[in-house]
Point group: C2
């Protein structure tokens, strides 16, 4: 195959733009590229690898001749347009939570369960950002020594809700410096009743609340990881938290393993694993931080140490760019895998 006809729905959003940039950066075998959006953003011009594209309003005809469509415009938009895309013969790689837990939809991190890609029925789901970061680190540990239980607390960037989150933090920061009141419009959830400032604050809510007092974001970390590993009983106890950082998520991960794994064995194991980079030399103050990991592909792991309170346990500090591996990069890697296997 000389190349694929690609569409990106939600091309003007944070994840959509990153997908477009990555397609160019990674020299994806493109034939045609169609950029799609809501009527509000249609007409905008976007540069991709030196070529200029006009963003078009999505319609029933948008997917004619398209081989593969990235959807990154929210769950409602995905639900609305998936049928039209599939009818036109396009495979949809969906970045939203709309189809992730459907039995007939593969949920994929290429480094974790890439072969699932070929089992698709027209849709492949991209996991949630905090799930991708967690699962990529747990996978080699699970395979090597087994996992009994995971307790994870996240430190999530505002980019998790897209450009509006980043604009909100930027605007509030300016207001703080100018001595003005901080206006909160988007966080924690755009459609929620109450909004709170994120600048100089911490919001212990990501997405809406669901069963047992956990948020949907927390449930995503549990159920998506279980599906990715095909281990419906895997025990994950999550707390997801929004902090004033632009675009890298951090996770404090406590993992109880079935067999022992020393910190040094863990470092060697994770350093060999695809998609991960170990950055762990505390005597030299080397550990991952959002300030230095943003706009990079790998998920970084540091502060690997024995949990001294259980027989087999480790504490890990993990940081990864939420828009890259946490969203757009993973989606593009799915497309690359698909193009390679079916090309």
């Amino acid at each position: 195959m000389s190349g694929l006809n690609i569409a990106v729905l939600g091309a003007t959003g944070a994840v959509g733009q990153q997908i477009v940039d990555l397609l160019a950066e990674r020299k994806f075998p493109l034939k045609n590229l169609t950029l799609l959006s809501s009527p509000r953003s249609a007409g905008r011009q976007i540069n991709v690898g030196g070529k200029s594209y006009i963003v078009q309003e999505v319609s029933d005809e948008s997917f004619d001749g398209v081989d593969l469509a990235f959807f990154a415009a929210g769950g409602g938009v995905s639900r609305k347009w998936v049928e039209a895309a599939n009818k036109a013969g396009a495979l949809v790689i969906d970045n939203t939570s709309a189809f992730r837990l459907r039995d007939d939809v593969p949920l994929v991190i290429p480094e974790v369960n890439g072969s699932e890609i070929l089992k698709h029925n027209g849709i492949i789901a991209n996991p949630n950002c905090s799930t991708i970061i967690l699962a990529l680190v747990l996978k080699p540990i699970l395979d090597q020594v087994g996992i009994k239980r995971v307790v994870v607390s996240t430190y999530q960037a505002v980019s998790g809700i897209g450009y509006r989150g980043m604009e909100e933090l930027r605007r509030q920061t300016e207001a703080y410096v100018m001595g003005r009141e901080l206006e909160a419009l988007a966080l924690p959830v755009i459609g929620a009743e109450k909004h709170f400032p994120i600048a100089f604050n911490v919001i212990p809510q990501i997405d809406d609340f669901a069963e047992e007092g956990y948020t949907k974001e927390e449930w995503k970390m549990v159920r998506e990881t279980q599906k990715l590993f095909n281990k419906p009983d895997l025990k994950i106890s999550p707390t997801t938290i929004r902090i004033p950082v632009m675009r890298s998520h951090c996770e404090s991960i406590n993992v109880e393993t079935i067999k022992p794994l020393s910190p040094q064995e863990c470092r060697i194991l994770l350093a060999k694993a695809p998609g991960l980079e170990v950055m762990d030399d505390v005597q030299r103050q080397e550990y991952p931080m959002p300030f230095y990991t943003s706009n990079q592909d790998p998920i970084f792991v540091g502060r690997i140490r024995r949990d001294l309170t259980v027989e087999n346990g480790l504490n890990l500090w993990v940081v990864g760019d939420q828009i890259r591996k946490g969203a757009a990069l993973n989606a593009v890697q799915i497309a690359e895998y698909y193009a390679q296997k079916t090309g």
Copy 2:
């Protein structure tokens, strides 16, 4: 007793100034107040409850006639002046880590183990800020149902290293808005080889690194909590993290209990406990956040939910003002307890 002669060493620092303010605010039975500092800050004028005081350089004679001295100027300064204070007959309430783990020094949170205050030998130690917040919440749970193990991840404000931390975040925030480079001078540790920006960043290091790859801050949470509860085997697995927030610390606490405790039972238990305030109604988006808890006395607890991965377990989200209950307020409460019992 009509009142005590009080000295505050480190009176120009963040914790020292808060101690002075709280003495006035809480109408502490004061006879004389002496404000002490290093030569660098001596001569400054400080207003306390409408009266003006000149800060004096600390010397061997500073403690003559002093009944009770608050030390809040760093471990080295405490070690240097404790003998002079004790010789002059002053009881020292020390806010640093210098004496906390000494067998002959009571380590006290009045709500947890107030009666230890009367067993002092000239020094009473104030626990570390992140320890106070953790222990105050764990205490009623420990007493009611027993604790098997705690996994805690912190989200700590820059005030933990005093005014220099707050100035650094403020300066870096201004630089960000002005488009200048962020200069890092103080964090993570003033004396460390490397400094990193904290604005829009997360630093997984608080204090220096020690045994097993844990920081001293993490060891403080373990050992001080064990001493406070007189349970040297209590299992605590901590990860302490600095985030860009001014003065309230947050903690994501996972606690495995020996006997069962439902979320609702836990809410009732903690709501009755001294020093705590339960703020937990997720359907109304009510949960504690630094933006709203700073400059307040209580430690706030929310997001109380069952840990679905163990037989008896809970997840809690806890936020408290690091300078108030995390440091100055606790020290003043120790002094109040002492004044009342010995008055």
